[in-house]
């Protein structure tokens, strides 16, 4: 005990005591555990990429880049292409982000900028976050039985009157891009709203007070001071929402329509990579499994790229806001 370096520094009846041998041990153990967990995480991601890549390798050798730009999925002739899947994945996710991002940010502003009593805002936030707990398949069913019949008359009216615009060029029969995007938007809403709220709450109160002090109106403060200051966090909320939308499977498999085409029309059935994987895996033969693994690799690459790009842009904007070069 006397050999302990801090033994003399603290008196025995002080509140804080020098760490004992046991505490050192716990500290070391925890530190190595944390490092091990971090390493396992990296190894796991690498292993998944390596394993899927390995299984996709024969298909990559067979179909090369054609796989990414061809539009047929023909098991009998062994011709595989996932352009409709890539297109549908990006298109539906972007649409969802457009809708979900707008409403998510609006909800975040509404709940953080003093429009509501604090307690009421807390209840609202809780309800909004509960959306994230609804299972995907329930969203899918809700989409089929509620969203589709609700939007069908409006969609078909748009098709009849503005059918010359490519976005409205087909009529909506049932499953299609728009119902899928609307349900997807509701699914990403809690993510976007929660992270945007955190970002807006993190802006120091002094900033807001200073802006009010300069005579800015409430809306000027929100739109010209608060939102730009929190832009980094809001942007990362959007990226995370987009990432969530890209990989969503069950609801989309039920709502997208499983139709192998590349179309601009919002009302046409389409295909996404995740839905393609889910619907074709159950009875795929060896050649199709290879092609599906290639498709899985592409989906993985898209989501990784989006997340990396998002994090990169996030750090960039944060640097600009904080003024560090």
């Amino acid at each position: 005990m006397s050999s302990h370096p801090f033994a003399l520094a603290a008196s025995p009846d002080a509140v804080s005591q020098a760490p004992g041998g046991g505490e050192y041990l716990v500290d070391r153990a925890f530190r190595s555990l944390a490092i091990a967990a971090a390493c396992i995480l990296i190894v796991l991601v690498a292993y998944i990429v390596w394993k899927i890549g390995g299984q996709a390798l024969p298909a990559i050798g067979k179909y090369h880049v054609d796989f990414l730009v061809s539009t047929t999925w023909n098991v009998q002739e062994q011709k595989f292409g996932i352009l409709p899947g890539i297109w549908g994945t990006l298109y539906s996710s972007l649409l969802a982000l457009l809708i979900g991002g707008f409403f998510g940010l609006t909800v975040a502003i509404f709940l953080t900028q003093g429009f509501l009593h604090k307690r009421l805002a807390f209840v609202f936030r809780l309800i909004c976050e509960m959306l994230a707990a609804i299972p995907s398949v329930v969203f899918g069913l809700w989409g089929i039985f509620v969203v589709i019949p609700t939007i069908r008359p409006a969609a078909n009216w748009l098709n009849e009157t503005l059918g010359f615009i490519p976005f409205f060029s087909t009529s909506l029969s049932g499953p299609g891009l728009l119902p899928a995007a609307i349900v997807l938007a509701i699914m990403v809403l809690p993510t976007v709203a929660a992270i945007s709220q955190d970002a807006l709450s993190a802006v120091p109160y002094r900033t807001k007070e200073a802006a009010f002090g300069m005579g800015a109106t409430r809306w000027e403060v929100i739109l010209k001071v608060m939102v730009p200051t929190a832009a980094g966090g809001i942007f990362s909320a959007m990226v995370l929402g987009f990432g969530r939308a890209l990989g969503e499977t069950m609801a989309l498999a039920m709502l997208i329509g499983n139709s192998n085409q590349v179309t601009l029309s919002l009302f046409a059935p389409a295909e996404t990579l995740a839905a393609l994987l889910a619907s074709h895996f159950p009875e795929a033969g060896p050649a199709e499994v290879e092609a599906l693994m290639y498709a899985a690799l592409v989906l993985l690459a898209i989501t990784l790229l989006v997340n990396i790009a998002g994090i990169g842009l996030l750090t960039l904007t944060q640097r600009r806001i904080s003024g560090k070069a």
Binding site: T71, T72, N74, V75, Q76, E77, P84, V137, G140, I144, I148, R152, N156, E160, T170, S171, S173, G174, P175, M250, A253, M254, G257, N258, S259, N260, Q261, T263, A268, P269, A275, A278, S279, H280, P282, E283, G285
Partner: protein, 351 residues
Amino acid sequence: MNAPHIGRMIAAAVALSIGLPAAAGWAQGAGTAASISLSGAGATFPAPLYKKWIDVYQAAHRNVSMSYSAVGSGEGIKRFIAETVDFAASDENLTEKDAAKVEAGAATVPATAGMIVLAYNIPGVSEIRLPRDVYADIFGGVIRRWDDPRIQAANVGVRLPSRDIAIVARLDSSGTTAAFTRNLAAVDPSWRSRGLGVGKLVAWPSRTMLAPGNEGVAARIKISEGAIGYVEYGFAKRLGLPMAALQNKSGQFVAPSESAAQLALSARVVEAKQLEPSVVDPAAVGAYPIVSYSWLFLYRHYPDPARAAAVRDFVAWGLAEGQQYGVELGYVPLSADVVALSRQILDTVAK
């Protein structure tokens, strides 16, 4: 929509985990001969009938427990060749190439027959007539709108909506698709040359919505206005979907009905391999144009004679008493000629 798939898998898993121990427990309790459990897989087209057969047969034969998973003809054939089932079912007969891959030998027995109907969903339209060239061109992607003059010409007085036609087809490898495309190729000589294909999996026009299983296609039509798709008669009937009257080879428009299907199946055959070609585009007056036989695939040799006896007895029962259950479910009982043919093939299964 993947839900039916997962549902099927769960149902199969539950059936396996609950069914087998229960059957074993019963056999012990009763102290009779060892119980036999048989599993089959394949076509979704005759699945409601086979499930009915299994229910009734099991009730009368307490020592046999059976299960049938409706996974599509293509998957059924795959499992039959891999010998992971005791019997399989398909709406398309086993090709000679596939039959050669079955080490235990294959006996393919025509077990039932049924109609493939074009079910549709157009609000306010409960009757529609489709000429031969028109239904081929709808599924070939040539006719894209419901108010197309060629559809309107055949349906004077029917208010057809100015909407796109949403085609619904099978996602999985399917004997229903095979039978339907065989008919399309017979109706429209340019079908094959346009690269549309005939078989269990074909390249439909790209805007086609794909759904797994007869039940998946029927459900998709039910939720999609302006949709049309091909399903076995009973599936459309259960969901209350209207079905198109189709023009047959002799020119009449025929709505699906048991008598029209029987006319379609009336061609006389002497050999099993003539069955399929005989119903591709039936020439009889008043015949419903798209019908298909459905087959049960058995092995010629089973490792266990008790198992062989059980499979033979079940199929023989299905060919005799089982046929009557088809009528209420929308299938067409086999004619006496075909049943005789089936029995002959069944006799090639070693005892």
